[in-house]
């Protein structure tokens, strides 16, 4: 009787192991296929029963893809040319740097101070979580288009200077400069800093920025890193908004891939398309493979509300 039960447990475990392996393999097929096919020669087209390895394994497809589209910057006439990579890095870094500042300051204010209409301001910022920025692409496009001509920043009678944000990294980054998710995350992290530490800092005569830098920030670094990772991954992979506010100069990687697949002379040269796909996804994918736990822990925060 006991032996039979034992056997059943064993059998069940075997079944779950098989299920895990089968599902994991299924989930891996797309990326494995993309990698394998990207190593075919561009002239070696796919056919029935010939969709994996080609006759040879070469990096020709990568070389040709890089030739066909400006994925990487080139040194020309004493300066680097614009490329999808530099554009993506520009707007991702711009977004991240501004976000880290705004989010830290706002989180600190909400965690450390009591002030007029604090709750109201907090809910105002949380509105951003209820109405995702992605769906506001039409009115936000208009805002970016007429940013300099309206009284948004400084009233016209004080200072007037016309400039165009369209097709610059600023246009892609700006809607994300304020982040409700980040503010919330940092507020939570700051609230967990023990009061004794804060009081000790105050007694030592810390100004607010010293308090923030020396007392609040050090123990909250994991939250800041988590927010940074999620922000970078999200913006690196973004397509719809850049598609709307950039045309040529500031076009990021994702848009580059979209254009690449639509190039007429590429057609169904799958090895080229897959090489391009790998080129744009590799940095994040590689970082994920190395820092798996860190990424998963960070994305766990990304659902925080």
């Amino acid at each position: 009787m006991l032996a039979e039960q034992h056997k059943r447990i064993h059998y069940g475990q075997w079944m779950t192991n098989v299920a895990t392996i089968v599902l994991a393999a299924l989930w891996l097929v797309p990326i494995v296929w993309a990698l394998v096919v990207s190593l075919r020669s561009p002239d070696d087209s796919l056919g029935p029963d010939d969709v994996w390895f080609g006759e040879t394994i070469t990096t020709e497809s990568y070389e040709k893809a890089v030739d066909l589209a400006p994925f990487f910057p080139e040194w020309k006439d004493g300066h680097l040319t614009r490329s999808y990579y530099s554009n993506t890095i520009q707007f991702v870094v711009l977004t991240l740097v501004v976000q880290l500042i705004t989010v830290t300051l706002a989180g600190f204010a909400f965690a450390h101070y009591d002030f007029f209409a604090k709750k109201l301001f907090f809910y105002f910022i949380l509105l951003q979580m209820m109405i995702p920025t992605a769906i506001l692409l039409v009115p936000n496009f208009v805002t970016i288009r007429e940013f300099s001509t309206a009284d948004f920043l400084i009233p016209k009678f004080i200072y007037y200077h016309e400039f165009n944000l369209y097709d610059t990294p600023w246009a892609v980054a700006m809607p994300y400069f304020g982040s409700a998710f980040g503010t919330f995350l940092m507020r939570q992290a700051f609230l967990e800093v023990p009061d004794e530490l804060v009081d000790a800092g105050r007694i030592d005569g810390c100004r607010w920025y010293q308090l923030l830098w020396h007392v609040y920030l050090p123990p909250s670094r994991p939250s800041l890193v988590a927010f940074g990772l999620v922000s970078v991954s999200f913006h690196w992979n973004e397509l719809l908004w850049p598609l709307v506010v950039t045309s040529d100069k500031a076009r990021p990687l994702t848009m580059g891939l979209l254009r690449f697949t639509q190039l007429s002379d590429i057609g169904a040269q799958w090895s080229l398309v897959m090489a391009a796909t790998i080129i744009i996804a590799l940095p994040l994918l590689g970082a994920f493979l190395i820092f798996q736990r860190q990424f998963i822990r960070s994305f766990l925060h990304s659902g925080v509300k």
Binding site: G47, A106, F115, P139, F288
Partner: protein
């Protein structure tokens, strides 16, 4: 002076965030509501899909009259009038979006739960399985879509080869088939999101108390029974939470449609946000794009509000 600065310092600190939330969330919401009541004579009439929307006096407006005309709620009335082009499009888009949400959300949540249960075991090599399920989250949706386009290629695409192996002999090129294109979008979304939702279940599972399982073991429950009657109900807060992010993500992420189904001219696979994009940037039907945006905001606000009420009540 110090008193005064101390009172205003926190406001100053939150000011940048307030400014950008106002500029890119609050103001556009108000603006789009306003603009949805205006009709723009198309700046590029040749590129506009002919619209049947009957706006008094507008049909005969000279082309030079490009300024906005106040049309009140005309677009909203048109939405619910199936005789207009707008109404017809709206009905189609809403039906597509509803199907898309009702199918992708439950399936990806169920898969996420199964994945989490499978890899929540102290086994050698289980990290590899976790990586296999989660990596699609790190892939841009466009990249995922380009890979999947190949899978749906007729004759030798891997999806078709697999289906043929199981005895399917139906239509092959899913992405350009009006009846199947929507399903091809769903498949990509499920494949990409299940691993992301999995991590929330994984965290939930690791926080579960052991004693419930011991009790279930004593009652002689088998593995499946334990999952269905003990684990899943215990994780209902996780499920509620994951459902909300799943629904929000289903509405927001339409990048795959831009590469997969853009060739479908008749809109059989158009999702709400994709239709907004098309109406505004391809057909230049500004008023309609604004109206659809308003509808979308209303839907999402209703959903988040319902979720808020639900989770508040559970919290008691």
């Amino acid at each position: 002076m110090t008193q005064l600065s101390r009172r205003f310092l926190p406001i100053l600190l939150i000011l940048p965030t307030l400014y950008f939330v106002f500029m890119f969330t609050v103001r556009p919401t108000y603006k789009v509501l306003n603009d949805s009541q205006e009709y723009y004579y198309p700046s590029r009439p040749d590129r506009v899909r002919p619209t049947d929307l009957q706006l008094p006096g507008i049909e005969e407006a000279p082309r030079s009259l490009r300024g906005p005309h106040d049309v009140g709620w005309a677009y909203y009335r048109a939405l619910f009038d199936p005789d207009t082009r707008e109404g017809e499009t709206f009905r189609q888009v809403m039906s597509n979006t509803t199907q898309y949400v009702l199918i992708t959300v439950p399936i990806s949540i169920l898969l996420a739960f199964v994945f989490a249960v499978l890899i929540n075991r102290p086994l050698r090599g289980i990290g590899l399985a976790r990586m296999a399920f989660f990596y699609p989250t790190m892939l841009p949706l466009v990249s995922a879509a380009t890979i999947w386009i190949f899978f749906f290629t007729p004759e030798y695409g891997i999806w078709n080869t697999a289906l043929r192996f199981f005895g399917y002999h139906g239509a092959e090129n899913w992405v350009i088939n009006p009846n199947l294109a929507l399903y091809s979008l769903m498949i990509v979304a499920i494949w990409k999101n299940a691993g992301y939702f999995m991590i929330f279940y994984l965290a939930g599972l690791q926080n579960l108390p052991d004693d419930v399982f011991e009790a279930a073991d004593l009652d002689g429950a088998n593995w499946v029974q334990k999952m269905v009657y003990v684990t899943f109900p215990l994780l209902r807060r996780t499920t509620l939470f994951v459902s909300v992010i799943a629904i929000l993500s289903a509405f927001q992420n339409i990048d795959h449609a831009l590469v997969m189904t853009y060739e479908l001219a008749t809109g059989e696979a158009d999702l709400l946000l994709y239709e907004v994009y098309q109406q505004r940037f391809e057909f230049r039907n500004y008023g309609f794009a604004n109206t659809l945006t308003v509808i979308m905001i209303l839907i999402l606000l209703t959903l988040t509000f319902t979720n808020f009420v639900l989770s508040e009540r559970r919290g008691e």
